[in-house]
Amino acid sequence: MRGRYIAGGTTLVDLMRETVERPETLVDISALPLREVTVTERGGLRIGALVRMAEAAAHPKVRTLYPVVSQALELSASAQLRNMATIGGNIMQRTRCAYFRDVTAACNKREPGSGCAALEGFNRTHAIVGTSRQCVATHPSDVAVAFAALEARVHLLGPDGERGVAFADFLLKPGSTPNRDQSLRQGELITSVEIPAHPRPLKSGYLKVRDRQSYEFPLTSAAVALHVRGGVIHEAKVAAGGVGTVPWKLPAVERHLIGERSSQALWTQAAERAAHGARPLAHNRFKIELLKRTVERQLRIVGGTP
């Protein structure tokens, strides 16, 4: 990995300044024709990799069909950054773990085999799910949480041609190779992210809980999309951010919701399942409870209480 694509440059340039990344070659892709948002034949949405975060958030189709995506984007970064940053760059962004960005600290993601300073260090913001003994860093993206919830596909173009990858397979848990964030092959380029069609009406939204009210990454977040017909939940798509080494899909919560009628009790019971399998570190135990409450609140906001 000696070369890098550069799109908006909002995160790659930072990483290069900190010498976390030192690509020998930069390939500027910003002139490629990947700036369209299109409706797919089946009624889903395809967002070009070079669509700016601000453009994607404001796009009428995104706003009406998948408000969860608009909201996740608009709660990200700052207006200036959203005007520069692209969707492709966003899901490629690397962790905000302070040890990853401090080149003097031990970090298996940055320097395989050097250890993980966060394990014993200051790990209040770190992950409680999807961790390994090698790495406990969260994936910082907000919109990736919405994409994960909506079961998006990532379209790629590489030396061997085009292929599509399910979002769940695109971002990688650290396991024993925390240096690998994505399942990209050598030279592969993201061309678009496709959100599949979901039964309508689909109510959705994103809740982000953070230390500061703006310009801050999530401590916890929840992306929720519900298809309710005749008072019964027929489809539920739920994922959490800020807690996992990748955006954390919550199938147990989803299963608990399907076939039920919305009620406060249901939201509470479903959210109870949000932190299954969580393994907190020394400073982030609070995330377990915070995650449940975040999910519960967002279920209530999207699903309402009769």
């Binding site: 401090d102 300073a117 200051f122 230390d211 409450r293």
Partner: protein, 700 residues
């Protein structure tokens, strides 16, 4: 690493590997619970321990405050240049003389061989009150390379290359009667410091003067940790102490079921009980009255977690702060030129409060000129000395000197005119002559007069040293016009200044005002204090070093101001007393406001007591109020837009070609030769939210 480009310097630095033995560092006071701390700073009045024992209500609380980093937008940066054995440094500093003294000491030079220039500080917040290692490094590199060197700290380097507000562990024990009248407070304060220096600040003051109580005992200790030395940060010590004391007062209010404002009013002192002196200004009762009214304080539900806005919990709270403002020795020079313009100089700083503007306003006002015709310059050690630009000193100190100097100069001009046979003012009583908008005339007879320009042109006697195009005619204070900075090495040092025989040269323009014990602000940081009360003597006038803290301590300390509990959006200056009075009277006497009784029994009485007392207090305050030296009153003058540009232009920075980068590593557990390390919870990443208690929102 020193190189001709930043990139080369950074690259070279990245190739350096530092090998060292790693030891387990201690950077958190919590790990040092039983650490032997230094000798405490103490204070006591009455017998606090006995009073606590016999108090009807006793409470005990410990507050932990995390470290705060200054982190101004404009990071620290230095340019150093040697001209022979003279050193000139452009630096981000809140005190050019502090930097001058430090560099002179480090390099074993006479202070007057070091010139420090800082026309704009950028954000300071206290972080530029000390000379940090990078300033010396830049000077050293410039000396070795024989070229000017620029060194700018990165954002990350600010965390260990400068100071910070130290972390505190502050235990309070308080005793009161059942009505909330305080009888005693015991303060046990522990703060972090470095292993190599002891840093202490005014954290004890609020506990001595914020509330009335007969018994106080305080002990303030530092705990040496493996950290760099802390430094003053905006509201140094005061912010910390106010947070703690006010939190404790809220606990007491809650415990006793007394409205928090009412509790404070019951403990409002009539004088500063630590000194027995009256407050020059203390308008807390008015603050409470206006704040409570504007915020709808008595309509709030005081029950915790009782007020919601959707999913948000809404809290309403209050807290008071206290600051004993002080002044310090300062000098200014003032010159009136034949073209009718004035140049005023003082080596003050401007980190954003608008020193350029305020001093220009002040000078224009005192000289009777328009602001357009007054230039104020600051931030150069060649200028007349000013105290550190911190501690809220600048306006009171430098302003006093500027005002005094301008008053004297105006007087000189008047005297020149009345003695000049060619002047329409010849023979007039100087006491009858006024100057306004650049024109001298007899009070009440505007027709009889002339402009400053006319007067000075007629009396002009050009001098050999006067800068081209400027005939200086009247001057106050030692006058080096410090504008030759762009003129290169030759302009420094400025010699033979006194030969620049001004026609009229009065000796002193120094405002010699009572000094605060500087030991507190400066001594702790090991910065020598420069006393320069005495102006009008030859260069190197500002080279006189320490008239140390001891001497200063003996000076009468008069605490001046008392300030404000929050931003109420309503100014509480003297001029507003009238405005304040009316609603208070009405509410108290005639038309009491509806009192919301829910959940807050005592609140009702609170209103009555508040307003009744507040009203009485208003009059007392009015009588008591003494304006500070520089109390201009009246409408502020328009700001002269070009002022800053002019001043900035005077100190154009020379081109530089050499850049320094420092390699950075962290000491940490298990650090190998490549410098792997670890943060810990006490480190800078953890930014506390100080006032989260009040108006805070939280997710439940």
């Amino acid at each position: 690493m020193v190189a001709t480009t930043l990139e080369a310097a950074q690259h070279a630095a990245s190739l350096v590997t530092a090998a060292y033995d790693a030891e387990q560092p201690t950077t958190d006071m919590a790990d040092m619970a039983d650490a032997p701390a230094g000798e405490p700073q103490t204070y006591a009045r009455g017998d606090a321990d006995q009073a606590l024992d016999s108090a009807a209500v006793r409470m005990e609380m410990t507050y932990r405050l995390a470290r705060n980093q200054h982190n101004a937008l404009e990071p620290h940066a230095t340019i150093a240049r040697w001209d022979g054995d003279k050193l000139t440094v452009w630096d981000k500093t809140q005190w050019v003389f502090g930097t001058q003294m430090e560099l002179a000491t480090v390099f074993g030079m006479a202070p007057e061989s070091v010139r420090v220039i800082s026309p704009f500080v950028g954000g300071g917040f206290g972080s530029a009150l000390r000379t940090w290692p990078h300033v010396v490094i830049a000077a050293l590199a410039a000396r070795e390379t024989k070229r000017p060197v620029k060194l700018a700290l990165t954002r990350r380097q600010l965390y260990f290359g400068t100071g910070f507000r130290p972390a505190y562990q502050y235990a309070v024990r308080l005793g009161s009667d059942r009505r909330g009248r305080l009888t005693a407070m015991v303060h046990d304060v522990r703060a972090e410091t470095s292993r190599y220096e002891t840093f202490m600040e005014s954290v004890l003051v609020p506990g001595q003067m914020l509330y009335s109580m007969p018994n106080v005992r305080q002990a303030y200790r530092t705990v040496p940790l493996d950290v760099n030395t802390p430094l003053y940060m905006r509201g140094p010590g005061y912010t910390t102490a106010s947070y703690v004391i006010e939190s404790a007062m809220d606990e007491l209010a809650h415990h006793l079921g007394i409205d928090p404002i009412e509790l404070r009013l019951r403990n409002e002192p009539d004088a500063d009980e630590s000194s027995g002196l009256p407050f020059s200004t203390r308008k807390l009762r008015e603050c409470y009255a206006v704040g409570a009214r504007e915020f709808g304080w008595h309509r709030r539900n005081p029950q915790p977690r009782s007020t919601r806005d959707g999913d948000w919990l809404i809290g309403t709270g209050m807290a008071a702060g206290v600051y004993d403002t002080a002044r310090n020795d300062a000098q200014a020079s003032v010159r009136l030129d034949a073209d009718g313009t004035a140049l005023v100089q003082s080596a003050a700083g401007d980190m954003g409060p608008g020193t350029y503007t305020s001093q220009t306003q002040l000078a224009a006002d005192a000289l009777g000129l328009t602001m357009r015709n007054v230039t104020f310059r600051l931030g150069d050690s060649l200028m007349p000395p000013a105290p550190p630009h911190g501690g809220s000193w600048t306006m009171a100190s430098v302003g006093s000197a500027v005002r005094d100097g301008c008053d004297k100069l105006r007087q000189q001009a008047i005297e020149l005119a009345v003695a000049d046979e060619k002047s329409p003012l010849h023979g007039a009583d100087p006491a009858d002559v006024v100057v306004s908008a650049g024109r001298l005339h007899v009070n009440g007879d505007p027709a009889r007069g002339e402009t400053c320009q006319q007067l000075l042109t007629r009396n002009e006697r050009p001098t050999s040293n006067a800068p081209a195009g400027r005939e200086c005619t009247l001057g106050v204070g030692d006058f080096d016009e410090v504008e030759g900075i762009h003129g290169g090495p030759a302009s420094f040092p400025v010699d033979g200044l006194l030969d620049r025989a001004h026609d009229l040269h009065v000796a002193a323009a120094a405002a010699d005002v009572a000094a605060h014990p500087l030991a507190d602000l400066l001594g702790g940081a090991g910065v020598p204090f420069l006393d320069a009360a005495d102006a009008g003597h030859d260069l190197p006038r500002r080279a006189e070093p320490a008239l140390e803290g001891v001497l200063l301590d003996e000076r009468p300390l008069q605490r001046m101001q008392f300030t404000v509990l929050a931003t109420w959006g309503e100014p509480l200056d003297g001029g507003d007393l009238g405005a304040l009075q009316a609603p208070c009277q009405r509410q108290a006497g005639v038309d009491p406001p509806p009192v919301d009784q829910d959940g807050a029994g005592p609140a009702g009485t609170g209103v009555a007591a508040l307003l009744g007392a507040g009203q009485a207090e208003l009059f007392a305050q009015q009588v008591q109020q003494r304006g500070p030296v520089v109390d201009r009153g009246g409408a502020p003058l328009a700001v002269h837009g070009q002022r800053d540009a002019t001043a900035g232009g005077a100190t154009a920075v020379p081109p530089t070609s050499i850049v320094v980068a420092m390699n950075v590593w962290r000491v940490g557990a298990g650090a190998g030769p490549s410098g792997g390390g670890s943060y810990d919870s006490g480190s800078s990443v953890d930014m506390p939210t100080l006032f989260v208690r009040f108006g805070g929102r939280s997710v439940d």
